[in-house]
C-alpha cells in the first residue's frame, strides 16, 4: 500500500460558545496520496476553511485522527505544530500574505530562517525557486512594488523552499485577475507534474477543474469525491486511442 501524504479519519470540529454549538466539520474521512492534485470545493460556511486549517496544522480537530506524511498532528503542542508547518507544508494564501515592504528574496527566505538553515544556503535556494516561478528579475522588488499575480508567485516560491510534503493553497486565485490566475494555475500544474502533492481550496468550479480530484464539502460533510472533468476527458482520450 502506498503511504498516504494525508490520512484523515473521522475528523470533526465543533465550535462551542455559551449559547450555541456549531458543527463545522462532521466526521470527515479521506486519504490523499503522494502526487495527487486535489481541489476542495464548497460554498462558504460549508466547513472547507475549517478543513483547510486542520490540514494545514493551523488548528486541531475536536475529534478524529490526522496523520500528515507519517506524523500524527492532532495531539501536538503549539510549537510542535509550528515545526510541522515549517517542514511539511507550503502555504499559499488568498491574500498572498507577504511581509510588507520586504523584498521578494527576503520573503522567500523566511521559512528557512525558522528552520535554522545557514544564511548563504537560504539565499541560493530562494533564488532558485524565484527563478522557477519566473521572477528572476524581480527578486529585489518589495511586495508593494509588484502585481498581485507576481506576489502570488513569490508566495508559491516561498511555499516550495522547505521542499514540503504538501502544498496547501487557500483560494490562490481569489485576489488575482483572470489572465494572471491562469498563469498561477499553470505553475501549480507544473509543480504537480514534477511530483508535488497539492491541496487547493476554492469555490470557483473552473479553477477546481485544474485539479485531478475534487472533494465537495457541504454542511461539514463530504458530499462528493470524484475525479475532475478534465481528468475524465484525458482518460476518455486515452481509452479511445
Amino acid at each position: 500500500m502506498v503511504k498516504s501524504i494525508i490520512h484523515a479519519s473521522h475528523l470533526s470540529k465543533i465550535y462551542r460558545t455559551d449559547i450555541v454549538e456549531t458543527v463545522a466539520l462532521d466526521d470527515v474521512s479521506f486519504d490523499i496520496q503522494k502526487g495527487e492534485f486535489v481541489a476542495i470545493m464548497g460554498p462558504s460556511g460549508s466547513g472547507k476553511s475549517t478543513l483547510m486549517h486542520i490540514l494545514g496544522a493551523l488548528d486541531k480537530p475536536t475529534t478524529g485522527e490526522y496523520i500528515l506524511d507519517g506524523e500524527e498532528v492532532e495531539n501536538l503542542s503549539d510549537d510542535e505544530l509550528s515545526d510541522i508547518r515549517n517542514r511539511k507544508i507550503g502555504f499559499v494564501f488568498q491574500a498572498f500574505n507577504l511581509l510588507p515592504r520586504t523584498t521578494a528574496l527576503k520573503n522567500v527566505m523566511l521559512p528557512m530562517a525558522y528552520a535554522d538553515i545557514p544564511k548563504e544556503e537560504r539565499e541560493a535556494i530562494a533564488i532558485k525557486y524565484l527563478k522557477m516561478v519566473g521572477l528572476g528579475d524581480r527578486m529585489y522588488h518589495t511586495s508593494n512594488q509588484i502585481s498581485g499575480g507576481q506576489q502570488q508567485r513569490v508566495a508559491i516560491a516561498r511555499s516550495l523552499v522547505m521542499n514540503p510534503a504538501l502544498i496547501l493553497a487557500d483560494e490562490p486565485t481569489g485576489n488575482i485577475a483572470t489572465a494572471q490566475a491562469e498563469e498561477i494555475m499553470a505553475i501549480f500544474q507544473q509543480l504537480n507534474d514534477d511530483g508535488h502533492t497539492i491541496v487547493m481550496i476554492t469555490h470557483e468550479p473552473d479553477i477546481a477543474q485544474h485539479a485531478k480530484r475534487i472533494i465537495h464539502i457541504r454542511d461539514g460533510k463530504i458530499a462528493e469525491d470524484s475525479i475532475s472533468h478534465q481528468q475524465r476527458i484525458i482518460k476518455k482520450t486515452k481509452s479511445s486511442k
Binding site: L58, D83, N86, F93, A113, M162
Partner: protein, 407 residues
C-alpha cells in the same frame, strides 16, 4: 534565527515607521536624560558645597552659644548671650587643652554699610588677629586687623572683594578710603582674596572690623556670637571637641553635659548636615526623574501593543511559516530593547549636555558620576524587557488562524 539576524530584522522593522519609533524613543530619552541631568546637578551641588565647607578649614571647631537642641531646630546665632571674651581667652590660655592651636572670638551682625554714593547690607564680623589664619583667609592688599587695633578699639575695616566691588564700583582701591558702618566712619585697611562660593556662606561678601569696636561701638553687646578654634590636626577633632567642651562646662559650672549652654560643632558635623540635606534633595530630584522614566517605559509598552495589534496578520503568517513562540517573543522583545537602548544612549548624551550647560550657567561644578550613567543604561535595558515583555507575550500567543483572518 540567530540573535544577530533577529536584531537586524527588528532594526529594519523599526526604521519602517520612523515617526512612531521616534516618538517611542523620545519618551525614554526624556526619562533617562532627566535622570542623568538631575542626579548630576544634585551631586555637583553637593560636591560644590562640600568643597566650600572644606575650604573653610577641616580642623575648625565652632563654639556657638545656646544649648544643643534635638533635631534641626536651633536658635539663631546671637540669640543667646552665654559666650564671652573671657571664655575665649581662658580656652586659649588653658593648660588642660592640649589639642588646639589658636582661638578666635567673633561677633557678627548685619548692618548697613555706606560710602559717598553706594550702600550695601552685609554681615559685619568683629574679629581678632587670629581670625585670618583660622578661617584660611588671605589678604589681597593692605593688612588684616591687628591686636593693637583691638586694644585701641580702632575704627578700621577689612572687606571681602564682593563688598569692595559693590562699594567702590569704579575699581579704585578701597585702601585708605572711608566707609560708614551704622553711621560711624571707618577707614579701610585691607581687602581679602576672593575665595569663591555662592549663596549662603559667601566669605567674599563680609566686612571685618576689630572685635572690641564691633561689640562696644556698633552693636552694643558684651558677649560673642561664636568662638572659632583651630585644632592641631583634623585627626584629633573629637578629642579637641571633648576637651573644649568639658573645659567650658567647668567654667560655666554646669555638671550635666546635656544642659550645656553652648554647642560645639566641627566642620565635619556641618558637612554631614549639609550632605544629608543635599542628599535628600538629590534623592527627591531622582525620584521625579524616575517617574518620567516610568512614563517613558509605559509609552514603549503602549507603542509595542499598538505594533502587535497592527501586525497581527504578519505574526500569524510568521507562525504559519514555522515561527515558534520563543521566536516571536524574542523578535518583539528585541524591538523594544532596541527602542529603549537607543533612547537610553541619546538620553545619556542629552543629560550630560544639560548638566554641562546648567553647570556653566550656575557656575557650579560640572560633574557626571559614572554610576548614574551605568544606572541609566541598566534601567533603560530593564525597561525594554519589562515593558516589552507583555506585548511580546501577547504576540507570541496569537493563534495563527485568528491572526491570518484578522483584517
Amino acid at each position: 534565527m540567530t540573535l544577530i539576524e533577529t536584531f537586524l530584522e527588528s532594526l529594519g522593522t523599526l526604521t519602517l515607521n520612523k515617526t512612531r519609533t521616534g516618538l517611542a524613543v523620545l519618551g525614554i530619552v526624556i526619562g533617562i536624560g532627566s535622570v542623568i541631568a538631575l542626579v548630576s546637578l544634585g551631586q555637583a551641588t553637593q560636591l560644590s558645597i562640600q568643597n566650600q565647607i572644606e575650604s573653610l578649614g577641616a580642623n575648625l571647631l565652632t563654639v556657638n552659644p545656646g544649648a544643643p537642641r534635638t533635631g534641626a531646630v536651633r536658635g539663631a546665632p546671637g540669640s543667646d548671650t552665654t559666650l564671652t571674651d573671657e571664655d575665649a581667652t581662658a580656652i586659649a590660655a588653658s593648660s588642660q587643652i592640649t589639642t588646639i592651636n589658636s582661638v578666635s572670638p567673633e561677633y557678627s551682625g548685619r548692618t548697613q554699610i555706606t560710602t559717598a554714593g553706594n550702600n550695601t547690607n552685609s554681615s559685619v564680623i568683629g574679629a581678632v588677629s587670629t581670625y585670618l589664619t583660622i578661617h584660611k583667609l588671605t589678604i589681597d592688599s593692605g593688612r588684616f586687623i591687628s591686636d593693637t587695633d583691638n586694644v585701641n578699639m580702632s575704627k578700621v575695616a577689612v572687606m571681602g572683594p564682593t563688598v569692595a566691588l559693590t562699594l567702590f564700583p569704579d575699581g579704585s582701591s578701597p585702601i585708605g578710603q572711608n566707609i560708614r558702618i551704622k553711621g560711624q566712619t571707618f577707614t579701610v585697611i585691607g581687602v581679602t582674596v576672593a575665595k569663591g562660593g555662592n549663596g549662603f556662606n559667601n566669605v567674599d561678601n563680609l566686612i571685618y572690623i576689630p572685635l572690641s569696636t564691633a561689640q562696644k561701638q556698633i552693636f552694643g553687646v558684651d558677649y560673642l556670637s561664636s568662638i572659632a578654634i583651630e585644632a592641631k590636626s583634623s585627626d584629633i577633632m573629637t578629642t579637641a571637641q571633648d576637651e573644649v567642651g568639658y573645659f567650658l562646662l567647668a567654667r560655666h559650672k554646669i555638671s550635666d553635659p546635656t544642659k550645656a549652654d553652648f554647642t560645639i560643632m566641627s566642620q565635619q558635623d556641618i558637612l554631614n548636615t549639609v550632605s544629608s540635606t543635599t542628599g535628600t534633595f538629590t534623592a527627591l530630584l531622582s525620584g521625579i526623574a524616575a517617574i518620567s522614566l516610568l512614563v517613558g517605559g509605559i509609552g514603549i509598552m503602549n507603542i509595542m501593543l499598538v505594533t502587535v495589534t497592527e501586525r497581527t496578520r504578519e505574526i500569524g503568517l510568521r507562525k504559519a511559516l514555522g515561527a515558534k513562540k520563543t521566536t516571536i517573543t524574542t523578535q518583539f522583545l528585541t524591538e523594544s530593547i532596541i527602542l529603549t537602548f537607543t533612547g537610553g544612549i541619546i538620553g545619556i548624551i542629552l543629560g550630560i549636555i544639560i548638566s554641562f550647560v546648567v553647570a556653566k550657567l550656575l557656575g557650579t561644578l560640572f560633574f557626571v558620576s559614572p554610576g548614574s550613567i551605568l544606572l541609566a543604561f541598566v534601567v533603560s535595558a530593564g525597561i525594554g524587557i519589562l515593558f516589552g515583555w507583555y506585548p511580546a507575550k501577547r504576540a507570541s500567543n496569537l493563534q495563527p488562524i485568528e491572526a491570518l483572518r484578522y483584517e
